[in-house]
């Protein structure tokens, strides 16, 4: 019984340490972001890894999600005889919710894990210490480019995934359910508001930040050898997933209750 409480207390302390450490990393990163010089080619390199290289898989998954959404909605809508609304349901759920979240989850699995493993290996092989010896701040050198790249590339990727998801719904509705092509597009863009698009993109920006910060944090906190790197990578991905979904919940509630 005593052990249980000690265990719980330690877990809770570890949780608090995690948030404190993450907060400290966030503060340092924002400070270093605005201190010149900013090495642009490092940002571009990370942006290519996070954005350009993620595009095929994000597109593929967005297309599938669009098709699935259309089919699942059709299942119910055909009973009610209102297939017209599939277009607006697919468009709204892609742009407001699924576009940003699916993109963020894919990028977290693809890029977040890579970042955690990369920085973790550097930490284990003492390259991070070497950077400090060379008077290069590791936060500025490693975290700032990744933060900028991820937080700027995720909204762009989300735009791609929105349009491709809508295309997926379009394919099903036009070629399977026989809805007129112009009708589908008309309803899609009639049902969307600027607010829907921009809340989605804002979410994507924050998801990008979450991925960058958590992955870098876990990478820097690696202890032990190769095993530690593996554990840190797993932890980074799991924590990022949880935080993305939690942040999404908070954002959605925020936009639902405060800016309806």
């Amino acid at each position: 019984m005593r052990d249980l409480f000690i265990n719980l207390g330690q877990k809770f302390l570890a949780f608090l340490y995690f948030f404190g450490g993450l907060g400290s990393l966030v503060a340092q990163t924002f400070r270093w972001t605005f201190i010149p010089p900013l090495k642009k080619e490092r940002v571009f390199e990370q942006a290519k890894k996070a954005g350009y290289d993620s595009l095929p898989i994000v597109s593929l998954i967005a297309l599938f999600i669009g098709v699935i959404m259309a089919l699942q909605t059709a299942y119910q809508m055909q009973r009610l005889g209102s297939e017209m609304y599939i277009a607006s349901i697919v468009a709204l759920s892609m742009v407001r919710e699924l576009g940003p979240v699916i993109t963020a989850l894919v990028v977290a699995g693809r890029v977040g894990a890579a970042i955690a493993a990369e920085i973790g290996t550097m930490q284990v092989t003492e390259q991070v210490d070497a950077l400090q010896t060379l008077a290069a701040n590791p936060v500025k050198y490693l975290v700032v480019p990744r933060l900028l790249a991820l937080s700027l590339m995720l909204p762009v990727l989300t735009l791609y995934s929105n349009i491709i998801g809508i295309l997926g719904g379009y394919l099903i509705c036009v070629y399977k359910l026989g809805i007129a092509s112009s009708m589908y597009l008309q309803i899609t863009f009639d049902s969307l508001l600027f607010k829907d698009l921009f809340t989605g993109l804002l979410k994507a920006l924050f998801f990008g930040m979450i991925i960058a910060f958590v992955s870098c944090y876990e990478g820097f906190n690696v202890e032990g050898g190769a095993e530690g790197v593996g554990k840190a990578t797993t932890r980074a991905v799991v924590t990022t997933f949880i935080l993305i979904i939690a942040a999404d919940c908070i954002f959605t509630a925020f936009f639902y209750f405060i800016f309806p």
Binding site: F44, K48, G51, P155, V156, L159, F189, F194, L197
Partner: protein, 207 residues
């Protein structure tokens, strides 16, 4: 350092450029291309608008030609009764005659409200920018309900009377005197059809 030379920058440039194109596409399609159609604003005055919202369509002869831009209260000092001023934006080529009828209509049974403009006859004089047109107030739902309730009450009263066999219709339905009389008459006529033609028989008896 020279920018814009490497393959990496080219790939990234293409990626971001296409992303921006998608963004512009979304914005233009969501915005309904209103950015490059020009129009003007006119006012419609109502006492009651039944929940018209900003962005509700304005229909002229049943065609969407604009939307509601703003809804204001207009306080008239002499009357003290506030009027609702609906600022509607309509396309430039649409000319609303001054004798048009304007009312708030509903899309479907419970659908959204919109401003319906039925054009008048006088196409020489039309509404200029910023001018006002007084609209016909929609009937409030509770008034309709009240009317229906009154009608139902009256009907109910009559039905109760009819059921109790009061009044002409009540007696017709529930009192079988007439039926019996008719039946007797028909039987009598059948038995003695000549009665129908034989009219003058009774007269001599009386005499």
């Amino acid at each position: 350092m020279i920018f814009g030379k490497t393959k990496l920058e080219l790939k990234l440039g293409v990626f971001v450029f296409v992303g921006m194109v998608i963004l512009v596409l979304f914005i233009l399609l969501i915005g309904d291309f209103q950015t490059w159609t020009s129009g003007y604003e006119v006012n419609f005055l109502f006492n009651f608008v039944n929940g018209v919202k900003i962005g509700a369509p304005v229909r002229f002869s049943g065609v969407d030609v604009g939307e509601v831009k703003a809804i204001k209260f207009l306080l008239n000092p002499p009357e003290l009764k506030p009027k609702v001023q609906i600022v509607g934006w309509v396309k430039k080529e649409i000319k609303i005659p001054l004798d048009s009828t304007v009312w708030v209509n509903t899309l479907g049974l419970l659908g959204e409200k919109y401003i319906e403009v039925m054009p008048g006859e006088d196409f020489q004089n039309h509404l200029a920018k910023g001018e006002s047109l007084v609209g016909h107030d929609p009937i409030a739902m509770h008034e309709v309900a009240q009317l229906a309730k009154n009608i139902a009450g009256d009907l109910d009263e009559s039905l109760v009377k009819i059921k109790n066999g009061e009044g002409t219709i009540g007696k017709l339905l529930y009192d079988d005197t007439i039926y019996n009389e008719l039946e007797a008459l028909v039987k009598d006529v059948r038995r003695h059809p000549w009665k129908l033609f034989f009219k003058t028989k009774e007269k001599p008896e009386k005499k």
